[in-house]
């Protein structure tokens, strides 16, 4: 299987992708945990994809795990990420047409994604998003961003700041001035 894996790399044919996902590669978290992931799923990460392409599939399958050294890639975050890519690897490719892109941005998360990303532990949530960003999994970063947006929409500045634990580096006067300038936001018709 691994012997002829290289020449089918990059083929978008669905059967080939399914077949390739039966090939398991190993991913190593920054905490040292090693986890198996289907090849097609793992390649949803552009970081992993580039590594696989430069090393060759055979090398990746048969040798050492791919090391994900960023500290956001904890064991827990990597497990979540593998769960996500294993669910999404056979999604249809994203169309980058401008109008569609706009629709896609406004599109709600699927039920599965909502359940997946709604984790109570905010440190884990942020690890997953930061790790997905490091691993360059655009779809998952987007899911994380949309999830946070759904939580902050319509909330006051102070509420958002508390929720996301953002450090306020404005002076009281500066903040006051911004609130005055933005009174229009809170003006109800």
């Amino acid at each position: 299987m691994a012997d002829n894996a290289d020449h089918i790399d990059g083929d978008d044919n669905e059967d080939v992708r399914a077949q390739q996902n039966l090939i398991k590669i190993k991913l190593k978290s920054s905490e040292g945990g090693i986890y198996e992931c289907g090849l097609t799923a793992a390649k949803m990460s552009d970081l992993v994809k580039n590594m696989v392409e430069s090393l060759g599939t055979d090398a990746v399958v048969t040798t050492e795990p791919i090391i994900l050294g960023n500290e956001a890639v904890t064991d827990a975050a990597l497990k979540k990420i593998i769960e996500w890519v294993e669910f999404h690897w056979d999604d249809p490719p994203v169309d980058h047409d401008f109008e569609d892109e706009k629709d896609r941005r406004n599109e709600e998360l699927s039920h599965w994604d909502k359940q997946f990303i709604d984790v109570d532990d905010q440190a884990l949530l942020f690890d997953v998003i930061a790790a997905a960003n490091y691993m360059d999994i655009k779809g998952l970063v987007e899911v994380g961003a949309k999830h946070i947006c759904s939580k902050i929409r319509g909330k006051s500045c102070q509420e958002v700041r508390e929720m996301l634990k953002i450090t306020n580096d404005f002076t009281a006067e500066e903040e006051d001035a911004i609130h005055k300038e933005n009174a229009w936001i809170y003006a109800k018709d």
Binding site: R105, D121, Q122, A123, F126, D127, I129, A130, N133, V141, E142, A145, K146, I148, C149, I152, R153, G154, K155, S156, C157, V160, R161, L164, K165, I166, T167, N168, D169, F170, E175, I178, H179, E181, N182, W184, I185, A187, D189
Partner: protein
């Protein structure tokens, strides 16, 4: 490098803030202005496109001007009010609203500090609007 708490959004760089802002409405983006200096900078810098509507909360001229002053990277302003070149091929602007005359001065005179990156100003005229040529 400064170490941020893992459950704090402070750990994220501009790229993720920007990504987040891209999913928010115009109004919610400005709600984020007061979060921190990083957010304020990104709210201002990433606003490229403004769809003006008469019924917006920010459609009065002073608020609109303030927004234009803050957002220096605007390249497209759309759906401004009540004016159009009346005849095909003519570049003359026909103003029907004193507010727009002011707006035109503010926006289109090259030596103002607003909208230096403006590429396109799309102005729509409702068909039944009473046309006045100035």
């Amino acid at each position: 490098m400064r170490k941020y708490s893992k459950d704090s959004f402070d750990r994220f760089g501009d790229d993720l803030c920007q990504q987040l802002l891209s999913f928010l409405t115009f109004e919610d983006r400005f709600r984020c202005e007061c979060l921190s200096k990083q957010w304020r900078r990104l709210v201002f810098n990433t606003q490229k496109d403004i769809h003006y509507r008469e019924d917006n909360n920010w459609s009065d001229l002073s608020t609109f001007e303030m927004i234009l002053k803050k957002c220096q990277n605007i390249t497209h302003l759309r759906n401004l009010v009540y004016t159009t070149p009346l005849f095909g091929g003519s570049n003359t602007w026909y103003i029907t609203d004193p507010k727009l005359a002011l707006l035109k001065q503010t926006l289109l005179v090259k030596n103002t500090t607003n909208c230096q990156n403006l590429l396109q100003l799309r102005i729509d005229m409702p068909i039944h609007n009473n046309r006045q040529i100035v």
